[in-house]
């Protein structure tokens, strides 16, 4: 079912070292951005606030892409609902940020967020309790997506739902969540979601320092996730996943419980996506049900395809390049950018089945 051309990891020591060097250099370069941001305006090397903010967003997308690649590129599980895990993580963090607003909301209520005040809530719903603590929020940002992925995966993998069927189910999942979160009665702010955050960990969010801090947090998450994924894929676990991707039933006859392997990687992938979402929210300053839109999840999968699936680094590259293109085109050619992006997706699936990473790999081979 899945094609076998995407090899798990680059072989040959020189290529591997080359890539590792490039990745470290790229991360170091990214780490420099907030420093360059502090240079005085007018300096040739100065990086604008906008660049820092946008790059921080891309980094979070990079983690999401990485999470998708781990599940899709290695274990062959194509989830079209990863945006849901990302958004759930984001909502967990958003709830924390809302609690931190405290009496600074427009109605000045000490506990209830504004939207609850004008919807007539008298007290905080039970599922909001605990979110005033940062560790709890982070825990929930991992636990909720993880638990949902575990439940969905357990039901589906056990019933041997694979391939496009699984994709369609995950798509329906994120769609159902989107509809549910749009409801104001859910207690998550409906269509408006959460916004107008004030601070995180005692630092006001609209400062250069806070942005730099979040940027580094995202970068550390990206580097950490990359190392974790790289480690997993280089162990026997990673090789079993590749085997599952290429010949699922054969793996069963070797005595491996395919369900538990898929379940663990899918859950881990969802947790990573949740963490990415949790960092994304304070960076962009808003979370709302639009993040659950099925189109978003498909787009995230396309980043991976563009970058080259089954390569980890390629997924991150794809997330960065597609989003950079989108940021640029929505300003440069606001009426035509959908054509460019759409054509890019078509061209990549048609002519570059191994994505951008395949271009480099092709050369080193």
């Amino acid at each position: 079912m899945s094609d076998i051309t995407a090899a798990p990891a680059p072989r040959g020591i020189p290529a591997r070292l080359l890539i590792r060097g490039a990745v470290i250099a790229a991360i170091a370069l990214l780490a420099l951005l907030p420093v360059l941001n502090t240079l005085p305006a007018g300096s040739a090397l100065r990086v604008s606030d906008f660049t820092v903010a946008v790059t921080g967003k891309w980094i979070c997308y990079g983690v999401l892409a990485l999470a998708i690649d781990l599940a899709w590129g290695y274990a062959g599980i194509l989830s079209l609902g990863h945006g849901a895990f990302f958004a759930l993580g984001g909502y967990a963090m958003g709830m924390h940020l809302m609690r931190l607003i405290g009496p600074r909301g427009v109605y000045g209520h000490p506990v209830l967020p504004d939207f609850m005040v004008f919807l007539g809530y008298k007290e905080l719903p039970w599922y909001w309790l605990g979110f005033d603590h940062f560790p709890y929020a982070i825990l929930m940002a991992m636990l909720v997506p993880g638990a949902l992925a575990f439940l969905l995966g357990w039901l589906s993998f056990r019933s041997r739902i694979t391939g496009v069927y699984f994709s369609i189910i995950t798509q329906a999942m994120t769609y159902a969540l989107m509809l549910a979160f749009f409801r104001n009665d859910m207690g998550f702010g409906g269509n408006n979601g959460f916004t107008d955050f004030k601070e995180l960990l005692g630092v006001p969010l609209n400062t250069q320092g806070a942005r730099a801090g979040l940027f580094y947090a995202a970068l550390i998450l990206l580097a950490g996730s990359l190392i974790l994924c790289r480690h997993i894929t280089s162990t026997k676990l990673g090789r079993v996943l590749v085997a599952v991707r290429d010949a699922e039933s054969r793996v069963r006859f070797l005595g491996y419980s395919v369900t538990s392997f898929k379940l663990s990687v899918f859950t881990l992938s969802a947790v990573l996506a949740g963490l990415a979402g949790a960092l994304y929210v304070p960076l962009v300053g808003i979370i709302n049900p639009g993040e659950f839109a099925p189109g978003n999840s498909i787009e995230a999968v396309i980043w991976v395809a563009v970058g080259g699936r089954g390569t980890l680094v390629g997924a991150i590259l794809g997330a960065f390049s597609v989003n950079a293109l989108k940021t640029w085109l929505t300003s440069f050619a606001p009426d035509l950018w959908l054509f460019v992006l759409g054509s890019l997706f078509v061209a990549v699936t048609l002519f570059l089945p191994r994505g951008l990473a395949g271009l480099f790999r092709g050369r080193t081979k």
């Binding site: 004008f118 409906g190 269509n191 408006n192 107008d196 962009v284 300053g285 929505t330 300003s331 009426d335």
Partner: protein, 411 residues
């Protein structure tokens, strides 16, 4: 024909982004004034927002034809936030931090405004927001040129309950499930209660965006109306869901004479996609209708038709609010002698413009305009027959007195 039109608009956007040298050399001096245009050109909101993008571009052309502002040429910076709310915030930051625009016209939905608000406040930008909304907000960086609930919703319900409107005693509040309908309906419920209409006589129902199957809800409204009291519908249904809603009303034979439906989000632009014959007599409440008589509106309509090169294109309330806001901004800049945000903000207070609605509107220190309220009935030709209007423009109560939590804010 419309292909040319949009291509033209695209070129205008392109021109803005590329900072092409001035085509007309008649400007005195100084770098151009940059005007950000932050309206969705793709995605679900494109249907409403593209017309506003065109209105801003038209106004820029108009200002430039008059020699610009402060002798400087105006230059549009068009971006597409693609109906994606986080992208709105990103694009707002880009407009302010990278393109360094002097003023921005943009947003339609409340959530997009909420999304960009922290950015405008942090970077001290200036946003003109042209759409009627739920109120409960006031930012020093935003000028709200659309209606607050007391300038639209409450007068409309008053009309329905009056003799001319059919003396409704039972109200069905139908809305799309988002903050504008929720807040508006909360205000309306408090208002209706204060007028002696009990909760048993109020039906409230919400549907998702783009809801297309209205059969069940419309039959429930019929049932609700079958309790022996004159019933009216107050619709805060948003954009796309309106066409199937009105079709269902028409097909289930709900006539305006029996159960009138007053809408706050349906204007000429929305009616353009509907066969209006079965809808004659249903109502809309706005601060402007294209059918308003008088010179200011004729001028506005002529300007729009000349710009868009299409006689069939209609004007609507948010376009008028954009027009009025833009005019006011140019006046304020002239008065302040600079585009610096703080100076322009001060100069904005008290600015007056004879708006196309035929009333002189004034920017109050609460950042909202005084506006007249008009009730129009749908006519067969897709226009509105104005059946009621307030004698004067009324001031906005952006903090509604019907929300108890606001009691401490204003007397």
């Amino acid at each position: 024909m419309s292909l040319n039109l949009t291509r033209r608009a695209a070129l205008a956007g392109l021109g803005g982004a590329l900072a092409m040298p001035a085509i007309r050399p008649s400007f005195a001096q100084g770098s151009p004034i940059k005007v950000g245009v932050l309206h969705s050109l793709s995605g679900t909101m494109a249907i409403s927002e593209t017309a506003l993008r065109d209105t801003v571009l038209m106004m820029i052309e108009w200002a430039n034809s008059k020699g610009g502002v402060l002798g400087r040429r105006l230059e549009p910076v068009v971006v597409d936030p693609a109906s994606n709310w986080p992208l709105f915030a990103e694009k707002a930051r880009e407009l302010l931090a990278v393109s360094k625009v002097d003023v921005t016209f943009g947003c339609w939905t409340s959530v997009s405004r909420k999304s960009v608000l922290p950015v405008f406040e942090e970077l001290n930008g200036l946003l003109f927001y042209p759409v009627q909304y739920e109120g409960e907000e006031q930012s020093r960086n935003v000028f709200y040129t659309g209606a607050a609930p007391n300038q639209q919703a409450i007068p409309a319900v008053e009309y329905l309950m009056g003799k001319d409107g059919g003396e409704a005693k039972r109200i069905a509040l139908l809305g799309t499930d988002y903050v504008y309908p929720r807040t508006t309906n909360r205000i309306l419920r408090a208002y209706l209660n204060s007028k002696g209409i009990s909760d048993a006589d109020i039906m409230e129902e919400y549907t998702p965006f783009g809801h297309s199957d209205w059969q069940g809800i419309v039959s429930r409204v019929k049932r609700f109306a079958g309790e022996g009291k004159r019933t009216a519908i107050v619709s805060t249904i948003n954009g796309d869901a309106n066409v199937p809603f009105y079709r269902e009303l028409g097909n289930q034979g709900i006539k305006a004479e029996d159960i009138p439906c007053v809408a706050f989000s349906v204007g000429e632009e929305e009616l353009a996609g509907i066969d209006t014959k079965p809808l004659v007599g249903h109502l809309a409440a706005w601060n402007y209708f294209m059918s308003v008589p008088g010179a200011p509106n004729d001028e506005f309509k002529a300007m729009w038709r000349a710009y868009i090169k299409n006689d069939k294109r209609v004007t609507n309330d948010p376009m008028e609010a954009t027009y009025t806001g833009f005019r006011m901004w140019t006046q304020a800049v002239q008065k302040a002698g600079t585009t610096a945000v703080d100076a322009v903000r001060q100069a904005m207070y008290g600015q007056k413009v004879m708006a196309p609605c035929g009333y002189e509107e004034e920017m109050r220190p609460n950042h909202h305009l005084t506006k007249p309220v008009m009730i129009g009935e749908v006519q067969e030709n897709g226009q509105f027959n104005i059946v009621h209007k307030t004698p004067t423009a009324i001031a906005a109560e952006n903090w509604s007195p019907f929300i108890p939590e606001n009691a401490s804010r204003r007397g």
